[in-house]
Symmetry: C2
């Protein structure tokens, strides 16, 4: 059992082979492992100026050198101690490599903290009484780790850049997920006890008010009982589930169902799952052992019949993370032989993988939410969320997700003020999943009238960016390049600066959110000239700038020569597969530009059989010195859904 | 290796035999243990209304049912998750028994949280959608635990009351420590780089201003280098250490030395300790393996020569708790064969025990401070402290210390206001160690002029209470009864109320501190009448009262018939062994009273050979109905240091 096995990772060998071959990035003689008393301790060398990233989905810090992590699937509790929704045991070094400790255990990682007496580069001895340079954490020349099991697999991913190391890791995990196009639209989760009628009314109100909506999420009340669940439609709130689903399809709104995996005695498959479940219950519900094929068969058969055949598009898989006092104990025993702690580390991976497979069998992509994950998850069609709800920390999680092959959404639920509401809605629109989760609060995008228009504007901007976002995901899938990127992964970004409140979406868009109470902020730009997304005006040239964007705008910047393709015109929904849409292609700055635009049918797995297109968009100066756009699609590239292209030179008009 | 072995616990068999024999308190057939993969899982039955206390030195909560603890010696980080200075794996049930899991490991305890499928009393299944009584933690009928080792020792301590269970545990640990009398005086820790001259000047200033002072603590600057340390006097700040120590003795002020155990290359015994230390360093210092007799011999020989022979009275043992990123990693290896995590759980116990033995060899009791501890520590002459510094949480720690056989001081360091300063000084004077720790702040008791007199008053009251406090410790030693007591350990206290901000000192004094910003508070009284300590007036009769004591007074209450012996007159220092002091014995309320007053020489271990006295103080009504006091000392009881007794009937004058 390993994490990558649990995730079902199938390395994309061709894509890995296509990357530049480089030397093994560490001196192999300096990697040490020894086993003692059924535990393995590890030591990896570390240079004096290396910075370390990753080691789980952290919410407060980006650089991790000088910390200790006990990597443990759990609800995030407010400190970056290793207990988090995706405690991926992977670190990425600023020196351009990554290390994965692939064991389904609570691994303790000493990220440049443990000081071995046989270190080759021991730190100097200092007297705290007399030396003000004394430090509580002397510089260690190693990452050490303890795996509380008799064995582990180790992987070292070469660079040469940190981004290359991340790409290799993602490709080794199967390549990043390519969501269905509708998954990049707006998702509204409705209050937990809403009836079918209330849901349809809410969908219609989105349309009437002109707010984007592509997916609705139903919360626990869709089930006839929850915590533990029956997985069956509630006959009072959803008396005609097939009819309800048809109405939703007529409105072209996908339906996502909340579940947690714990099985009520009232669930139809309870009896069959009894021998296939763990020694302990959660909220009196069975904990099915999803590592067993027979368990998956029983559960997924019901899911297929009761959900997918009605048109359900995906799941939100809740409570597979923690807290400890809710879930099974570490000494629980499962029919497969796994112990409680092993199961804790892989449970969410198995659920993601099993449900994803269900949709794959029908030839339809899915796109869902999950509260737990771990290593190897890049290819799984799930975005992590939680209810911790600090807006700044949510953005730091978005930054950190990019190191460890997971996706994260800074979901919006409620706010104290219209200002906070707008700031949160702005940033969620630049995340992998633009979602309002109103399960408890009943909020709508227009809940704060004073910012209702600005909220609609940013939701529509998100939708217009579909060609750009979808291409970013295609690069995640085919090349391993994460769609959201921390700045230390960006070429030309000054080493040693690890901002936790700005990030790239795709190659060209730098996002710098503001938080409630702020009217201006600083933004650290990578080298070269950067331009304001909205106006095309020069914003700065490398270094740190201060921006005062006004409440209506989230600061967005594009590098010199950057190209951003958008859907032309205003839209409320992702175009259906049979529509030919119009494009607006924007160019920023003075330099020539080039962008490879991806497209496919947006719904099936045809892209795995070559049914996709890459269109080269270039902007260069003609003989008169004027910037001209050109689009070239190689013969055979299909499908391609864009009819016309309008070129907009944002800076040089 | 077990915790009790590490602590050197020697059960006080006679005292245990003297307790009432009771049945084994749990159905033995319902205690289960099984081993799997070199781990042991445990299950103990739990009744529906039992409340659980203990499970480490917690700072925020008293009742622990419904929690999970990972018991781990560590700095307290702000949540009661098991990481704390004394993570004693003992729980005390309100049903009147206690359970100790005696393994030097990071034990995970599910205190009524894990729900086993074969539970005899499973909680009802509830639907969260429709049932507002649904709860995230259904009532479990067991305490479960995981010991990550192939074996463990288990102890169940019978009652019949919770206090009896605690007493049995303390007696099994060797009985509680009896401090030297001077240890109950006031301790001032001076700024870290103070010179000998500055220390003496400060001592003289205490005398000139009339503030109690019996002990001075020297912080890191007494050493020639610290973090890591040399354990040698600094020749610039202490050019004549023997002379300095003589001056301190002349002033009758004991000297306590700060240390942490990590050894600088500049320490004289560095070379001898190199082969006797662990695989990792702390702040570049060696980590001596104190489980080895040869290590103790090397270290203690220097301590004896350089410290004890000069008259040093004790140590403050710092940084044996955490943080993880400062100490050795869990996979460290020690010459004894212990792993890092095992050593972490016992290191502080070994250091306490080894240094205590050093003083015992000289026939003198010691009294010191330590930042880490664990099970079996009751007999060790150390009080736990930390720098977390929340005043309310410090008091909760004081409450919780009473369940688990450790002592705690809510040390005072600095304050924002005079009010806070006074409130902190008031409560530390009703703790096992009345201490101002000015190592970083340079504060003095009189630092806030507006409360300087009130601070002096409460320090003097502390000193006057010496006969009462010393007796409370004698009962800790001889009978296992903790000197500070949580209210659930008090007879007549209503079950189901677990206040975290009030406690008993000895049998008769209920202490209810106020915190900065409060002018009044509620106090929950045990059954019966309770009287104001200062005035003798009736304060209430059971139930909850509200008091508005004014800034100068910490609320103190005495039960009906309660007797409190005090030193008569005002004092600044604990009386020396050769002095016969005068007593004031106070009686409160209307009922007859009886108090057994303990005395001995206050400095040696003569009490272990029978050199002590118990004097019976009784107050009863004479034929005219007037309360009369009487003192009876059985023949042969010695020593006894009290010359005269003045009886004060506080309520009935």
């Amino acid at each position: 059992m390993s994490l990558l096995d649990a995730a079902g990772s199938e390395p994309r060998v061709d894509a890995l082979r296509a990357m530049r071959a480089v030397e093994f990035p560490l001196p192999p003689g300096e990697i040490r492992a020894f086993r003692r008393d059924a535990r393995v301790s590890l030591r990896f060398p570390l240079g004096p100026s290396e910075r370390l990233y990753g080691l789980g989905l952290n919410f407060k810090t980006v650089e991790q050198r000088g910390t200790v992590k006990e990597l443990h699937v759990d609800h995030y509790g407010g400190s970056d101690n290793g207990r988090t929704h995706a405690p991926v045991p992977l670190y990425v070094s600023s020196a351009g490599y990554a290390v994965l400790i692939d064991a389904p255990r609570y691994i303790t990682v000493y990220a440049g903290t443990a000081e071995s007496r046989d270190s080759k580069h021991p730190p100097p001895v200092k007297d705290r009484n007399s030396d003000s340079s004394w430090t509580a954490i002397p510089l260690s020349d190693a990452v050490e780790a303890l795996v509380p099991a008799a064995g582990t697999r180790l992987f070292v991913f070469a660079g040469p850049t940190p981004l290359d190391a991340v790409r290799r890791y993602n490709l080794f995990s199967g390549g990043g997920v390519l969501p269905p196009k509708w998954g990049l639209g707006f998702l509204q989760r409705v209050p937990t006890l809403y009836t079918a009628e209330q849901v349809l009314r809410e969908v219609d109100e989105f349309a009437a008010r002109g707010y984007p909506l592509d997916v609705v999420g139903l919360e626990p009340g869709w089930q006839s009982a929850a915590y533990p669940g029956t997985f069956m439609w509630d006959p009072t709130r959803f008396p005609d589930a097939p009819g309800f689903m048809r109405e939703m399809q007529r409105r072209r709104v996908a339906v996502n169902l909340w579940i947690n995996p714990y099985v009520s005695p009232k669930a139809p498959f309870y009896g069959r799952l009894e021998p296939l479940s763990g020694s302990h219950t959660v909220w009196t519900g069975l904990v099915p052992d999803f590592t067993l094929p027979e368990t998956r068969a029983v559960v997924l058969d019901l899911f297929r019949r009761e959900h997918l055949q009605l048109g359900v598009s995906g799941y939100k898989i809740d409570e597979v993370d923690g807290y400890d006092k809710w879930l099974w104990p570490d000494h629980a025993v499962f029919p497969s032989g796994l112990s409680g702690d092993e199961m804790r580390q892989v449970y969410a991976l198995y659920l993601q993988r099993a449900t994803a497979e269900l949709f794959r069998q029908r030839g339809r992509r899915t796109w869902g939410l999950v509260r737990g994950s771990n290593a190897g998850a890049a290819a799984l069609p799930y975005v992590i969320y939680n209810d911790y709800y600090s807006h700044p920390d949510f953005i730091t999680a978005l930054v950190n997700s990019s190191f460890i092959g997971v996706l994260w959404t800074p979901e919006v639920r409620s706010s104290k003020t219209g200002e906070e509401w707008l700031r949160r809605m702005q940033s969620v629109c630049f995340s992998p999943l633009a979602m309002l989760n109103a399960w408890a609060d009943g909020t709508k995008p227009w809940s704060f009238p004073e910012v209702a228009d600005a909220v609609r504007d940013v939701m529509r901007l998100r939708l217009r960016l579909l060609p750009y976002l979808y291409t970013a995901f295609a690069r995640y899938h085919f090349q391993g390049t994460p769609p959201v990127r921390a700045m230390p992964l960006v070429e030309g970004f000054a080493a040693g600066r690890d901002p936790k409140d700005e990030f790239m979406v795709g190659d060209n868009l730098l996002v710098a959110p503001l938080f409630a109470g702020e009217t201006s902020r600083t933004v650290i730009l990578p080298a070269g000239k950067w331009y304001d997304f909205y106006t095309g005006a020069l914003a700065g040239s490398g270094g740190t700038i201060t921006v005062t964007p006004g409440l209506e705008r989230i600061p967005l910047f594009v590098a010199d020569g950057g190209i951003i393709p958008l859907l032309a015109g205003d839209r409320r929904q992702v175009p259906p597969p049979n529509e030919q849409a119009d494009l607006e292609v924007r160019h920023y700055g003075e330099a020539d530009g080039r962008f490879e635009l991806y497209d496919d049918d947006g719904e099936t797995f045809g892209y795995e059989q070559g049914d996709f297109s890459w269109t080269t968009l270039t902007v260069r100066r003609d003989s008169s010195g004027k910037l001209q756009g050109e689009s070239r699609r190689p013969p055979g590239g299909k499908p391609f859904h864009y009819r016309t292209i309008r070129w907009t030179m944002m800076t040089t008009r």
